[in-house]
């Protein structure tokens, strides 16, 4: 049987280049996963994701998909791949994070979370078993254990209590998965999530519990929730030391281009974030030369290509002055161009990072490129 994860090369430090194998295709790691919240990566066509952005796997949000289009439509469609016409891998989150951040009201218990929909105020219940069931119906290639994500800052006792609940919920997720078959004829892989806020001892305990669950891959949650960047790096560094070396590590919800390179340097293989698309819709572009605010007067008469080092057609086809005009005039096309650009850049970023890991000069390269990526143009 084909193994799920294969490491091609480990650099002098902790960075690794490898491959993930799913029934919807192979993924090169480290990888960035564009976020397709409600069965759409906002403003981007599916063929653009594949052909122009070179996305290898995208994310779906369980909470959103459960509410709209709902699981009846999802199952009748034959799962999310068929519903949105995307035949490469998909990963879904557990719904937990959105219940805590979006739902109108919620009530926690050992059993799970009761919540009120942010759309129509209707009542719903997510439990570990329910989350597994929904993610089976969505049919993601990789799906996440149901966890509680603590805010930042978080009281030590609360963080510990929450972490223990997440661990108990994990056991119920695994039991459910062992007792229930996949729905659509292809393999789904469960990833558990390390929690423990910014407390080193809790993170160590959580990483060990998660490692013992012996899933094919592991995730780090509860970061990028408002803590300082250094804290995020420190916790990531500590946790990757305790997670199995031979399994992929997914850092959830991170981040800026430099966050991505720094955490790849700490042994992360998979990342996702709404930043490239959300910031794109506000006119912020990430490039190999730094960050551009497209609404800036500076670009008004700059008729040079949008990004001379860009890999997508939008970078050559449209000028800076034109894209600025679209943002100033609030034209949809501005958001579309910027979203394609940013996602293509993020995919190029991890691709080039991978090349440097394989070449053996990743840390040297990272040190030289990070200050440039952070520049404001």
């Amino acid at each position: 049987m084909q193994q799920f994860f294969e490491i091609e090369k480990v650099s002098e430090g902790k960075a690794r280049a490898g491959h993930l194998y799913t029934d919807h295709g192979r993924i090169e790691t480290p990888i960035f996963m564009p976020v397709g919240t409600v069965a759409s990566v906002k403003t981007v066509h599916q063929h653009e994701l594949k052909d122009d952005i070179k996305a290898q796997i995208i994310l779906g949000n369980t909470y959103h998909l459960y509410l709209r289009p709902g699981m009846e439509v999802m199952q009748n469609a034959g799962g999310l791949h068929k519903f949105m016409n995307w035949d490469l891998p998909i990963l879904t989150d557990s719904g937990g994070y959105q219940v805590f951040s979006l739902a109108k009201t919620r009530k926690m218990s050992e059993e799970g979370v009761k919540f009120k929909s942010h759309i129509d105020g209707s009542f719903h219940m997510f439990s570990p078993e329910k989350s597994m069931e929904i993610q089976r119906q969505i049919g993601a290639d990789i799906f996440m254990a149901f966890d509680e994500c603590t805010p930042y800052p978080c009281d030590y006792r609360l963080a510990k209590k929450s972490m223990n609940l997440t661990h108990r919920w994990l056991k119920r997720c695994i039991t459910w998965c062992n007792e229930n078959e996949e729905l659509y004829g292809y393999k789904q892989h469960l990833f558990p999530i390390v929690q423990g806020s910014c407390y080193s001892d809790l993170r160590k305990i959580s990483a060990e519990v998660i490692a013992e669950s012996n899933c094919v891959g592991n995730a780090i949650g509860g970061l990028s929730v408002g803590e300082p960047e250094d804290e995020m790096y420190r916790i990531t560094d500590e946790v990757t030391d305790f997670l199995p070396k031979d399994k992929p590590r997914y850092l959830m919800g991170v981040g800026t281009p430099w966050n991505i390179l720094e955490t790849i340097g700490l042994g992360i293989d998979m990342l996702d974030c709404v930043m490239p698309t959300r910031n794109a819709r506000n006119g912020m572009l990430f490039t190999w030369n730094g960050v551009m605010n497209m609404k800036n007067e500076k670009w008004k008469q700059d008729f040079s290509p949008l990004d001379e080092f860009g890999t997508s057609y939008v970078d050559a086809e449209y000028s800076k002055a034109y894209v600025r005009h679209l943002f100033i005039s609030r034209e949809y096309l501005g958001k579309q161009i910027a979203s394609i650009h940013n996602l293509a850049f993020y995919l190029d970023l991890v691709k080039v990072a991978r090349e440097h890991i394989l070449k053996g000069d990743f840390y040297e390269w990272k040190k030289s490129i990070v200050p440039i990526l952070k520049q404001r143009l």
Copy 2:
């Protein structure tokens, strides 16, 4: 010298199939022209316009482009074609219509119109000469004489007074054009506009004055402003009888798919309308089978292709259920898909109409297809 318009075939009635020749390429007539208000056909990429929608010529709005990005940027870019990266023909309106419908306040005089920008409240003046100058700077292949467009209904005396002003303004437009060279090395063609509201005698006078101006093409304005469909057809029918047969006739701002076929049947060669894109953004799709409201519950579980007779990739790539989900979830992609679909349909509509004109059975075909196009699905 290449002539501007060539008629390939006139059907048993007034419908004609022909070609328009511009320095940015040949256009097959009858043609529908997508509207690219502020240098963008809303939600649509330029390569999609060309490759998927098969647009042969697009429209730009002088009023909007004058305000944003403004003429300094436009001239430095080398005109609208270069600014937006569109190398096929462009037509611009005169700015008159938007001054009357969008500007905050306006003051008419023999000289022109003083108005306050709807964006920042700044004061501006459009005169026939100014409109010509701006359209030269935009660099459209076909540009329109500065006219006053009367509302509907319109008092006879007011309609007559306004028409006479439009005729005097036309003279000033032609004089300006004779005295001023093109800016970008390619030919720009001026079209005058027939006015006269819904009064047959005024329309006849106006058509004769416009015909006498001996421009390479002629337009009919002041329709599709709220009058009954029958009135629009009646006036169009009357006016095309008085306009030169050997020159293209452009009916401004029309309309629904059936309006387009009916007026092609009355001798119209060129049409434009925001309807396919505006209605698309609200979830209304035009198809060969009739009109679909994508927000309808009916499509919730319909996983068949968006439009089995559609010519664009979106019609095969996305299902009705998926596009409904995007509209219900207010995802940008829904607007994008619907806009591509509707424009591709409009271009297919005029293409098929042209084939029937060439084949000689246009009126028979139109009679059979119009009731189907009007159906609510």
